[in-house]
Amino acid sequence: MGTRREPHTNLIGLAKVDYNGSPTTLCQGCGHNSIASQVIQVAFELSVKPHEIIKLSGIGCSSKSPAYFLGQSHGLNGLHGRMPSLATGALLANHQLRGIGVSGDGDTASIGLGQFKHLLRRNVRLVYIVENNGVYGLTKGQFSATADEGQALKYAGVNELPPIDICMEAVIAGCGFVARSFSGDAKQVRELLKAALSHRGTAVLDIISPCVAFNNHDTSTKSYGYGKDHEAPLHDFGWVPPAEEIEIAEYDPGEMRVVEMHDGSHIQLRKLEEDYDPTDKLGALHRLQWAQEQQEFITGLIYYDPERPSLAEVSRLTDTPLALLDAEKIRPSAQALAEIMAGLQ
């Protein structure tokens, strides 16, 4: 009676349930499940056609999650740390598709760091989600390369090494969309996901996603408690689809920054405590370094550069995906062979 109900179907006639995947097998309360839910919600809200999405992942708890969303999309669960190469091949073979890749901190910052950096260098059109919990879950509690320096874990002891900052690595590698978020901040995750799907190249979302089994105690910066108490958004982040008008007038221009994306959509950044400019690369690196030194949990869009073309764009591909070219398009004529043979005699 009078309660607000979500519409049953979206613009393409799909219900939210149509974006579900298999039931999760991750731990109850795992941050990764919350992220999967936001992917489902966003795909539903944006009326994403499931067949236009491919899901990719490496190995680890995080990499299981593509099975838990968008069950009507093709998926490829590959090798530990090697999702970037699979995504590169798939998204060149069919550049009309959009990719959602899910990785973890072990998958990205350790075994897969090389492929991660080269993916970003190539700017493959992929939403690259890192479900970052600072710990290895499936092998029961070893430190990952993003774990805090000086942190103690029950079995692993004390971590003596400095963490790898995934966002900093992404900025340095030339990524044009670098964001950090917190799985406990569903609204921000959703808005960032929407913007990431509109980005023309690789969009990195480093989402702190607590591991309830091995790394959720208060001394960890990757815990729910820490995240809730310390999350410091750089701005109130919003995304506006291409067709919708931006009502900028109601904000003080000094309070609101609007950035147009490649597909005509817009990013809205409402100033919070600081005036942060995500299009300043050196500023972004400086802010990330400062945050690491102060153990600040900054979230939001850290760096944005819409200018770099994607790998598919620089490859000058025809509209028809390579995967779908007819036989006569992929085999030259007998005449062409005869001419080459004549030239070799």
């Binding site: 190469s85 995504a87 492929q115 070219l325």
Partner: protein
């Protein structure tokens, strides 16, 4: 040092029977001095004369300075295997000249730079000395150019001494420099000057010469890697990813040459292909599997160390059943090994590449024509069998120039295998359901609007519907189906080529480039009354024809270029009941096999 001083006195007066179109020549030079242009000029000029030839570049793993030997076999009888010794030496590397002269057989011939001091003398070798510096000075060239010019001096002198007409040298230079007149003339002028000087100043006293034949008319001369690249372009490759590694790089170079010529949209100029230089071989095969899963015809070219890096992904390709084509241009391992030498040492590694129960389809080309044809065959098999297909070539085939009939336009249509699209996808479709009993399921491609098309490819245990499963029966059934699929492959891959000789008691099995030494050895053995039959394998897994061949001979020699007899071991497991008939004759030192080795190895048995 004058000519007369160099000429062994006992040779001058002796008239020896002339030897025409039947010798080996070796050009000893330093790497990176442009000698390859000179060597290929001689090779192609001989080829243009209609004489059967083969050139083998024995080069170092180095950019500049280390010794290189280019062997040219000239054979009126058409034998193109390497020989143990070369009768004619073009000694143009001062660092190796002493050793090179020592290696000449008695009665050999040496063309040497007259400007060098302390050239070792041999009474049983004809020595010709050419004042190279004089010609270089005359051209007025400086710096690195001097080396290039110096190489053309030996081309001119050798042409005169052997009787290669200057117009054939010009044709060869014109081919090499794609008709660019200025470059042709620069080189040709040096050749002519050296040719004229040699005619005037040197009294030929050796028996070796060439005469025109009619054995190469209509033939082409090409490297295996170029043929493989061209064949892949006609085989419908749409995606290539690779990492540079000797000796496979020139295969990708060929793709990069032919794809822009042949596979652009004629109207828009947009590409019907993409070639990605990956960060390593691991990423290269990852890209292949991503592309193959999405529906592209994906390939790479690599060599042993690259194959090592690809092991884990090969297992994923096998188990998730994703097509891909991997050319392994074999060099000599383990580890870095001998990167610029040839071998057949990757056979067992590739056959079983991947952990757990893995077996891979392998093709073995032995000619450049097969390299071209397998460009189509490999992609078709990969699509039809939905699995990575490996092609094992080697450095000798891949990087050296071979004669061949021109390649025929592929008779095999482009086969994409069992792919369901849109409404073709039945309600009860499951990715790995063995509908046809051949172990090969029906796949769908990402991007298909039919919601039923979606499936989840994975390296984890799965059932016939591609759903995650740890059930023992699911695992077992899936692996048994993969075995069934491998059995299906047996009669789909190119079968063996068998030359059966009546009353032969010896069978020989080989694959790849060892065939040339074996064919020559069989003729020699036959001349001595030893009859042999020969089966050349063109693929793994083997089929019944292979077992039948083994069954017919009490002794079957498996000849190959590795230490442990890798194919021998595979055949023993493929035909355990016949294992004791199989005798391994395996040898590897980095050089192509010779007929002499084969004859001796068989005769010793």
């Amino acid at each position: 040092m004058g000519l007369v001083e160099l000429m062994p006195q006992n040779m001058v007066a002796v008239t020896r029977p002339s030897i025409i179109n039947d010798f080996s020549l070796v050009a000893a030079t330093a790497n990176g001095t442009g000698s390859q242009t000179a060597n290929l000029t001689i090779l192609r000029a001989l080829f243009k004369m209609g004489i059967p030839v083969n050139g083998k570049n024995i080069f170092p793993s180095n950019i500049q300075g280390l010794p290189t030997w280019y062997h040219i076999r000239v054979s009126k009888d058409g034998y193109i295997a390497r020989r143990h010794t070369s009768e004619i030496l073009l000694a143009f590397n001062q660092a190796t000249v002493a050793e090179d002269i020592k290696n000449l057989p008695p009665g050999g011939v040496c063309l040497v730079n007259a400007d060098w001091r302390n050239i070792p003398q041999r009474d049983d070798v004809t020595m010709y000395a050419i004042p190279v510096n004089q010609f270089v000075k005359e051209t007025g060239t400086t710096g690195k150019q001097k080396d290039y010019v110096a190489n053309m001096v030996y081309v001119g002198a050798a042409a005169q001494l052997l009787g290669i007409p200057l117009e054939k040298i010009e044709e060869a230079l014109s081919f090499h420099f794609s008709g660019k007149r200025k470059l042709i003339d620069l080189n040709l002028n040096v050749v002519k000057a050296a040719h004229a000087w040699t005619a005037e100043q040197i009294l030929k006293s050796d028996p070796y010469s060439v005469e025109p034949m009619n054995e190469t008319e209509g033939l082409i001369l090409m490297t295996g890697n170029e043929a493989a690249g061209l064949g892949s372009v006609f085989g419908g490759v749409t995606f290539a990813a690779w990492y540079p590694i000797t000796p496979s790089t020139s295969l990708i170079d060929a793709l990069n040459e032919y794809l822009p010529q042949l596979r652009r949209d004629p109207e828009t100029g947009e590409h019907h292909y993409v070639v990605v230089q990956a960060e390593d071989e691991l990423a290269a095969i990852g890209m292949l599997l991503g592309a193959g899963w999405a529906g592209a015809r994906a390939m790479t070219a690599t060599s042993g160390p690259g194959i090592s890096l690809m092991a884990e992904f090969a297992g994923l390709g096998y188990f998730a059943e994703i097509p891909a084509v991997i050319w392994d241009i074999q060099r000599v391992g383990p580890s870095t090994g001998l990167p610029t030498r040839t071998g057949q040492g990757d056979v067992t590694f590739v056959y079983y590449l991947g952990h757990g129960d893995t077996k891979n389809v392998i093709l073995f080309p032995s000619t450049i024509k097969e390299c071209f044809e397998f460009g189509t065959t490999a992609h078709n098999l990969a699509d039809q069998l939905q699995t990575p297909v490996f092609v094992l070539s080697d450095l000798d085939l891949g990087m050296n120039n071979w004669m061949s009939e021109p390649f025929d336009y592929p008779a095999e249509p482009i086969q994409r295998g069992k792919v369901l699209r849109g409404d073709e996808i039945p309600l009860d479709w499951g990715r790995y359901v063995d509908v046809d009993g051949d172990g090969v399921g029906y796949r769908t491609l990402p991007g298909d609007e039919n919601w039923r098309s979606a499936w989840f490819a994975r390296g984890t245990g799965h059932n016939a519907r591609a759903t995650y499963s740890e059930r023992p029966s699911d695992w077992h059934e899936n692996m048994e189906r993969l075995r069934r699929k491998f059995d299906t492959a047996r009669d789909m891959v190119p079968g063996p080529v068998i030359d059966e000789v009546e009353e032969a008691e010896i069978g020989i099995i080989a694959y790849g480039t060892t065939r040339y030494a074996i064919e020559e050895a069989r003729d020699r053995l036959a001349a001595d009354g030893v009859k042999t039959s020969f089966m050349r394998l063109r693929a793994l897994p083997v089929n019944e024809a292979v077992r039948d061949f083994i069954r017919r001979y009490k002794q079957v020699y498996v000849i190959e270029m590795n230490r442990d007899g890798q194919m021998h071991a595979i055949l023993q497991t493929e035909a355990p009941e016949l294992a004791t008939r199989l005798i391994s004759l395996a040898y590897l030192d980095g050089m192509p096999l010779t007929a002499r080795w084969v004859v001796e190895a068989i005769s010793k048995q």
